[in-house]
Amino acid sequence: MKYIHKVIFFDGLQAGGQTVLMYFSETGIFIQQTEEWDAGRPVLFFPFSDCTLQMVSGNAHVLLNRKGTQYMTLSADSSWFPELQTRLNRLNRNVFAKLFQLNVLVLVVLAIALLAGAYLGFTRLIPIAGLRLITPEYEMKLGEQFQKTFISGEEIDPVKTKQLQSFATSLKLSKTYPIQITVVKNTELNAFALPGGHIVVYSGIIHAMKDADEMVALLGHESAHVNGRHSLRAVLRSAATGILISVVLNDVSGILAVVIDNASMLHSLSYSRSMEEAADENGMQTMVQNEINPVGMKKLMLHFKSAEAEMPGTYSFLSSHPDTDSRIKHADQFAATHKNSSFAAKPVLDSLWLQLKH
């Protein structure tokens, strides 16, 4: 019979292959372990649904069961092989097989598009969900923990902390969160907000400031981060990114690491540009509400821009934000709208400021 072919068959009992006779129908493969086909002898039947094709450099290995114990090998050059291949593939057309037939460039584009989409969706959804789940009360507790961890490695200035706290308390900075100030002895020009109302100010920044309105601008800016829950947002966004990367790289253990890492990296976390712009804007509104001339924000920025030029790298307040000039411009525009408003003198605030400076 011309439809009967010789192949090498591995029976799953012993390793060596044996030459057998084989033919295939619409439904599967028939094998008889003889040299010449004998209708009276037993025939093994393997349905196509159990078979898989494994191609290795020009040789076809047809696995006859799902366990890989029985298979047959044949040369892919055989004239009848394409027909067998079509029948084998017809039953194994899953998503993976379909995608595998696509051009590699198409796959690259598809993967990039999906990843970009997933990235954008994920990094927006996770923060939204997280912000809803985490209450301000819990955020305050969290901030307490972060503050403790942070100050354990720093030297606190208790006198200045108390003075700056009175300064901050005399202002209206936040409706939801109690603003708690910690002054750290450090010459760096830096200040940052933690979730739940803690603001850490380096003594270097107090030393470098001239007027009270600059401090109001700084506190206004940092409390805007607190009120806008910016650090929480940034943590959630960075966690979302990390989780996504882990998923993509098939690195499950990474997911746990990301969650743990982020908690400790909080104060070095950078806010996004839109968060900074919002903090500037809201900070200046806070200044106006407190009847302080918002021009203080511009003074603060200009002041530290020149300080930064003298001592590059020591001014973290601006250094994480590349386009300082556009922020200064914005502060200038905001101040200009209040040019004609009159701001009363603030004797209490000024005296608190003088105490702080000396």
């Binding site: 012993q14 390793a15 696995l63 598809l110 998923v247």
Partner: protein, 314 residues
């Protein structure tokens, strides 16, 4: 008995493997990570299937579905650990919580390695003959805990002995049909190899590193045996330190200049390199290898070892 030289080679190519990884990424992203076990099955399937020994390829018959079940179990177990740790911390029993956590971890690590070996080898066949892992779960747990404690007590000095004991136990329990693997590396030799490697690498400003890697590779490979009754097969390494310079250096450059995109090619290159530089000879008649290892399908260990990053063991 006839003396033979055996040939092993890797026939895979970077482009195919790249495509597989791309599809895995696409499907994993669409399913929010749930495709992970199937993705892993695909990769293993390809890498095993393209490895050819004596003209016959290896077959990895593990499936995503099996590994998915393992994935769920592993995830639940891990959740339980973290939950108990958090409960302890909330109840101000930090010390108890941490002890419990590390205790569990010390138990889970060897159990996952054991599970991973059992599953991985039960699912690997060559020429229709199944591999198998016959190690005893609790014997390995004892070996592991003893090794960890002695390593901690001796500030790490014991760790070469621990690593070799572990390797010996694992490899000596691998079977293919009615043939068994053996490993005869010992801690003292490995310790000297490590000391020599550290010092010479430091003295030569890192140049010796490649020759060190070659020695370690040779120590792993050349101490292996495969025996079947009175027939044996020996493993030898024919790579030089210079070959390792080529492998590691080019891999590094490929990785850096493609920002990691060339990883599939790096994997394929490395496998080519390994197979090309191992030679085997001996008297085993592979045609007469008999099916003897049982069928086994629980993949929990396979996935536990992923969670804890135990890839280094295999």
């Amino acid at each position: 008995m006839e003396y033979n030289k055996y040939i092993i080679s890797f026939r895979g190519n970077g482009l195919d493997y790249f495509k597989i990884q791309l599809i895995n990424i696409i499907l994993t992203a669409i399913t929010l990570g749930l495709y992970y076990p199937w993705a892993k099955a695909r990769s293993l399937n390809y890498l095993y299937g393209q490895t050819v020994f004596e003209d016959q390829p290896f077959v990895f018959s593990g499936t995503g579905t099996e590994m998915f079940k393992g994935f769920i179990k592993a995830f639940a177990l891990l959740g339980l650990f973290y939950a108990s740790l958090i409960v302890c911390i909330l109840n101000k029993a930090e010390v108890a919580g941490i002890l419990l956590f590390y205790g569990c971890l010390l138990l889970v690590m060897p159990l996952s390695i054991h599970g991973s070996y059992r599953y991985r080898f039960a699912k690997t066949t060559w020429s229709g003959i199944r591999f198998g892992y016959t190690g005893n779960k609790w014997a390995f747990v004892r070996l592991f805990i003893k090794g960890v404690f002695l390593s901690i007590l001796t500030l790490g000095i014991y760790s070469p002995w621990f690593l070799m004991d572990m390797r010996r136990y694992l490899i000596c329990n691998i079977r293919i049909g009615n043939a068994r693997f053996a490993y005869k590396g010992v801690g003292s030799e490995y310790f000297l190899l490590m000391i020599k490697g550290y010092f010479l690498t430091a003295l030569t400003l890192g140049i010796y590193y490649f020759w060190w890697q070659k020695e370690l590779f040779a120590y792993y490979v050349e101490n292996m045996r495969l025996t079947k009754n009175d027939e044996t097969m020996l493993f030898r390494v024919n790579a030089t330190g210079g070959d390792f310079v080529g492998l590691i250096f080019v891999n590094l450059l490929l990785f850096i200049f493609t920002l990691g995109l060339a990883t599939p090619w790096i994997v394929v290159r490395s496998l080519h390199f390994i197979m090309q530089h191992i030679t085997m000879d001996g008297t085993i008649e592979f045609d007469l290898l008999r099916q003897e290892q049982p069928d086994y399908s629980d993949a929990t260990g396979e996935d536990m070892s992923d969670f804890f990053d135990f890839g280094f063991v295999i």
